[in-house]
C-alpha cells in the first residue's frame, strides 16, 4: 500500500551503508564554531539499545529544552521504546563521554516529536525563536550523522514544504541518518526547527519540524500517568485523531470531480492532496493506459514496519482499438487480479484482509468491485480499506480505479467509499 514517492527517508533508519555527508567545507565558519562550543553540552546522541545489551539498534539526536533534564527528539528515534518498553532501552551520550538512561515523557506522532528525560546535568536549555526566519536565511542543523560525533551543518531556510499534509520546514542542507531529533538554529543560536528527514530522491532537500510544535508539546501536561512507559494507547489515540483529521478534510466538502476521457471521476480534494498523471504508451503493445493519481502526503511513521495515515487513489483508463472483446477482457483481468499480495505484511500490526467482490451498477456502466478491510491489532478503531473497481461496459475502453485508505475509522472510510463510487460516471 505504500507509495515510494511519498515517504521521505527517515534519517535514523537508513543503514550505515549510506554514503557519507557532503564534503565538509575546508573553513569552518566562526559562527559554526561558536555554535559547537555553545551546544556540545546540550545536544546529545540518543541511542536505542536492545534489552540489556550494550550495542545500539539505532541512533538519533536530542537536545535539552527544559530544566530537570528534559530533552526533545523525534518520535521515530524513540518509537521502539515507546511501543515496546520492555524490549528496548534509551540512553544519551554527550561528546565528552558522559552518558545516562532516558525515559519517555510525551510523544507526538503526528509531528514526529518526543520528550524524554535523563540525568544530563545543568546544560542550558536551547531557546526557540518566536517567529519563523525568512526564506533564504542561513541556519545550522546539529546532530550526530552516521555516528560521526556532534556535527554542525550549514543550510538555508526555505519556508514551508508545499507538498506535505502537516507543516514541515524545507531546509536545504545535508541532514543525514543519525541527526534526527537534533535542533536547527539560526545564526544567533535560537532554535526554529527539529531535524526530521530528507527527501529520498533529492539532494540536500531536508525537512524540519517547526519549533512551534515542540513548544506545544512542552506546554502540554504530560499525557498519561506519571512514570508511564508504554505509549501504545497514547500513540493509538493520536493515530485516531490523525485519521479523523484526514477524513474530516476529505469529507468536509463534496468530492470534486475530474474528467478523464469519457469518465467523470473523483479528483483532487484540496491543496493538501497531491495529484499527478502518467501514461503507458508503448508502440509494441496493442493498448494504452492513462493514469491519474492523487494522495495525501500524510503518512506517519509508527515503527519500522508501519507507516500509516495516507489516503490515495488511482484511476487508469485502458484503451485499445486493436484487441477484441476476449483479449481486452483478459488484459483487464490480468491487471485487476494483480496486486493481491502484500509481501511486507506484518502480523504484529494488521489482521488479514476480509474482502468482498461483486458486480455493481455505476452511473452509465457496470463494474466489478472489490472491497478489502483489515483492522489494526494494536490500535483499536483503526482500519485499512482498499477498493478496486474495473468497469465492464464497452469493448476496448475501461476504467480501473483503486482507492486506499490507511489508518482511518471504519465509518468515515465507508462514507468516503460511498461518495467515491457515486462520483464515478461514464458518459459515452
Amino acid at each position: 500500500m505504500r507509495n515510494r514517492r511519498v515517504h521521505a527517508l527517515f534519517a535514523l533508519l537508513a543503514s550505515l551503508g549510506v554514503s557519507p555527508a557532503a564534503a565538509q567545507e575546508a573553513q569552518v565558519s566562526a559562527q559554526a564554531r561558536s555554535l559547537y562550543e555553545q551546544t556540545r553540552d546540550s545536544v546529545a546522541q540518543i541511542r536505542v539499545l536492545l534489552g540489556s545489551s550494550d550495542s545500539h539498534a539505532a541512533t538519533g539526536t536530542g537536545f535539552v529544552v527544559g530544566a530537570g533534564g528534559l530533552i526533545l527528539t523525534n518520535y521515530h528515534v524513540v518509537a521502539d521504546k515507546a511501543l515496546e518498553p520492555n524490549t528496548y532501552r534509551l540512553e544519551f551520550v554527550l561528546p565528552d563521554g558522559r552518558r545516562g538512561e532516558l525515559g519517555i515523557v510525551a510523544v507526538d506522532v503526528v509531528h514526529d516529536l518526543a520528550l524524554v528525560r535523563g540525568d544530563i546535568g545543568g546544560a542550558t536549555p536551547l531557546s526557540f525563536r518566536d517567529s519563523q526566519p525568512s526564506k533564504g536565511d542561513k541556519g545550522f542543523s546539529l546532530g550526530y550523522p552516521l555516528n560521526q560525533g556532534l556535527t554542525v551543518v550549514e543550510g538555508i531556510y526555505n519556508g514551508r514544504s508545499e507538498e506535505q499534509y502537516y507543516e514541515r520546514i524545507h531546509f536545504t542542507g545535508a541532514i543525514n541518518p543519525g541527526m534526527s531529533g537534533g535542533p536547527a538554529v539560526d545564526v544567533g543560536g535560537r532554535g526554529f526547527g527539529i531535524n526530521v528527514a530528507n527527501h529520498r530522491r533529492g539532494q540536500l532537500v531536508s525537512f524540519l519540524v517547526p519549533a512551534k510544535f515542540a513548544q506545544q508539546l512542552l506546554s502540554k501536561p504530560a499525557a498519561g500517568r506519571p512514570g508511564e512507559t508504554d505509549f501504545r494507547a497514547e500513540v493509538g489515540s493520536q493515530l485516531r485523531a490523525h485519521g479523523a483529521e484526514i477524513m474530516g478534510a476529505l469529507l468536509k466538502a463534496q468530492l470534486p470531480v475530474q474528467t478523464l476521457g469519457e469518465f467523470s471521476l473523483p479528483g483532487k480534494s484540496g491543496e493538501f492532496m497531491q495529484c499527478g498523471a502518467g501514461t503507458e504508451r508503448d508502440a509494441n503493445k496493442p493498448y494504452t493506459v492513462d493514469h491519474y493519481r492523487c494522495y495525501t502526503w500524510s503518512s506517519l511513521y509508527i515503527d519500522q514496519r508501519l507507516y500509516t495515515g495516507m489516503v490515495s487513489f488511482r484511476h487508469s483508463i485502458l484503451r485499445s482499438a486493436e484487441l477484441g472483446a476476449l483479449r481486452f477482457a483478459y488484459l483487464q483481468e490480468s491487471r485487476f487480479a494483480a496486486g493481491k499480495y502484500e509481501a511486507a505484511f506484518d502480523r504484529k500490526h494488521h489482521t488479514r484482509y476480509a474482502c468482498r467482490d461483486g458486480i455493481v451498477a455505476l452511473k452509465g456502466t457496470r463494474a466489478k468491485m472489490v472491497m478489502c478491510v483489515r483492522a489494526y491489532r494494536q490500535f483499536e478503531g483503526l482500519y485499512d480499506v482498499v477498493v478496486k473497481i474495473a468497469t465492464v461496459g464497452d469493448v476496448g475502453r475501461a476504467l480501473h480505479s483503486q482507492l486506499e485508505l490507511e489508518g482511518v475509522s471504519f465509518q468515515s472510510a465507508m462514507t468516503y467509499v460511498g461518495r467515491y463510487v457515486e462520483a464515478i460516471r461514464w458518459s459515452r
Partner: protein
C-alpha cells in the same frame, strides 16, 4: 490321424505361443528331448509333468516329481496332481500351458473395421487437434498483454509434452499389463479428457462472473474432479479386465487424491500469505455479464460484515 487334443503354451498375456497336437495319451511335458511337448524354460524339469485324458472332456495333470512342481493359475500353490478344463492354465516353471480338445469352440471372428471409434488413430488425431486448437486459442487471448507475441507460442511445448508423457505412461502400462499398448485409444481418452477439463473450467469461470455467484467456482472444481475421475476410469478400462465398479472406484480415488491435494495446497498457500487480499479478480467481456449489478450503496453497506470479521481477528491477539 485325428489329434486327440492340443497342448498350448500360453504367454503371460494369454496369447498362444505354440500349439502341439496330441495323438496318444499320456503326454509328457518337459525340457528333455524325449518329452512329447518340449518346453524351453530353464525352470522346467527334463520330465516335468504328465497329462492324461479324464472324464467329461477334462484332463488329469500330474507332477513327475519335478523340482519346482506345478500349480493351476491363478493359484501358485504347489500341487502334485489336478484335473483341469479347457480354460485352466497349468503353471510349470515360468511357463503356462492349456489343454484343449479339437472340438473346443472359438469365439466369432472380429470384423476387420469394427474397432470402436475412440480406438482409431484418426479419432486420436482429431482429438489432439482439438486440444492443440484450445491451447492456441488460450495463448492467443493471453497475447493481449505481451510485448513479444512470438515467445508466448512456445509455451505450447511444455503443455503438449505433458499430454504426450501422460499418454505414453498409460500406453506403457497397457503394454506391460495387457501386451497391447492401445496408444491411439489412450491418446483419445487423454485428449478428450483434457479438452473437457479446459472447456469445463472456462465455462464455470464465465458462469461465476456472468451471474456474479462465487459458488459456481466450487461447482466448477467439482466438475473438473469428476471429469478427471472419468478420464482415469477410461484409461484403466483399457488396461485391466477387472470389474467396472472396481475401476470406477479407482478413478474416483485417484481424482479425489489429486484434486484434494491441489485444493489443500491452494488453501495452505493462501493461509501462509497473510497479507493476501483474497478476492475474485475475474473480469470478462461485457457480453458475458448477465446481471445488472448491485447498487453501490448496498455493496458498501455490506462492508459491516467485513468489519465484524476483521474485528474478530483483531480481538484474538490483542
Amino acid at each position: 490321424m485325428e489329434p486327440l487334443a492340443f497342448v498350448e503354451i500360453v504367454s503371460r498375456h494369454r496369447d498362444v505361443v505354440s500349439r502341439h497336437p496330441v495323438y496318444r495319451w499320456p503326454v509328457r511335458v518337459g525340457r528333455g528331448y524325449d518329452a512329447d511337448v518340449i518346453v524351453d524354460d530353464p525352470f522346467v524339469a527334463a520330465r516335468h509333468l504328465q497329462i492324461e485324458a479324464a472324464a467329461d472332456g477334462r484332463y488329469a495333470v500330474s507332477d513327475l516329481q519335478s523340482l519346482n512342481g506345478i500349480s493351476v493359475s491363478p493359484s501358485e500353490r504347489r500341487i502334485s496332481a489336478a484335473e483341469v478344463g479347457p480354460d485352466d492354465l497349468v503353471r510349470l516353471g515360468r511357463t503356462q500351458i492349456r489343454i484343449r480338445a479339437p472340438s473346443h469352440t472359438v469365439p466369432e471372428e472380429r470384423p476387420l473395421r469394427a474397432a470402436a471409434f475412440y480406438r482409431r488413430p484418426s479419432a486420436f488425431a482429431l482429438m489432439a487437434a482439438v486440444v492443440i486448437a484450445l491451447i492456441l486459442w488460450n495463448l492467443w487471448i493471453m497475447t493481449s498483454d505481451q510485448e513479444e507475441k512470438y515467445t508466448i507460442w512456445l509455451s505450447i511445448v511444455p503443455l503438449l509434452a505433458a499430454v504426450a508423457v501422460w499418454i505414453s505412461v498409460w500406453s506403457l502400462v497397457s503394454r506391460t499389463v495387457g501386451g497391447r499398448s492401445n496408444f491411439a485409444a489412450h491418446g483419445f481418452v487423454a485428449c478428450a479428457g483434457f479438452a473437457a477439463l479446459a472447456v469445463s473450467e472456462t465455462l464455470f469461470d464465465y458462469l461465476s462472473f456472468g451471474f456474479d455467484v462465487r459458488w459456481m467456482q466450487y461447482l466448477g472444481f467439482a466438475a473438473s474432479a469428476a471429469i478427471f475421475a472419468y478420464m482415469v476410469y477410461r484409461h484403466l478400462r483399457l488396461n485391466s479386465r477387472a470389474l467396472r465398479r472396481t475401476l470406477a472406484i479407482a478413478g474416483v480415488v485417484v481424482s479425489l487424491l489429486l484434486y484434494g491435494a491441489a485444493a489443500g495446497l491452494q488453501v495452505a498457500t493462501e493461509t501462509a500469505q497473510e497479507g493476501l487480499q483474497r478476492y475474485d479478480g475475474s473480469v470478462k467481456a461485457p457480453m458475458f455479464l448477465f446481471v445488472s449489478g448491485a447498487s453501490p450503496e448496498a455493496f458498501v453497506s455490506d462492508g459491516e460484515a467485513l468489519k465484524r470479521k476483521v474485528d474478530a481477528m483483531a480481538r484474538v491477539e490483542r
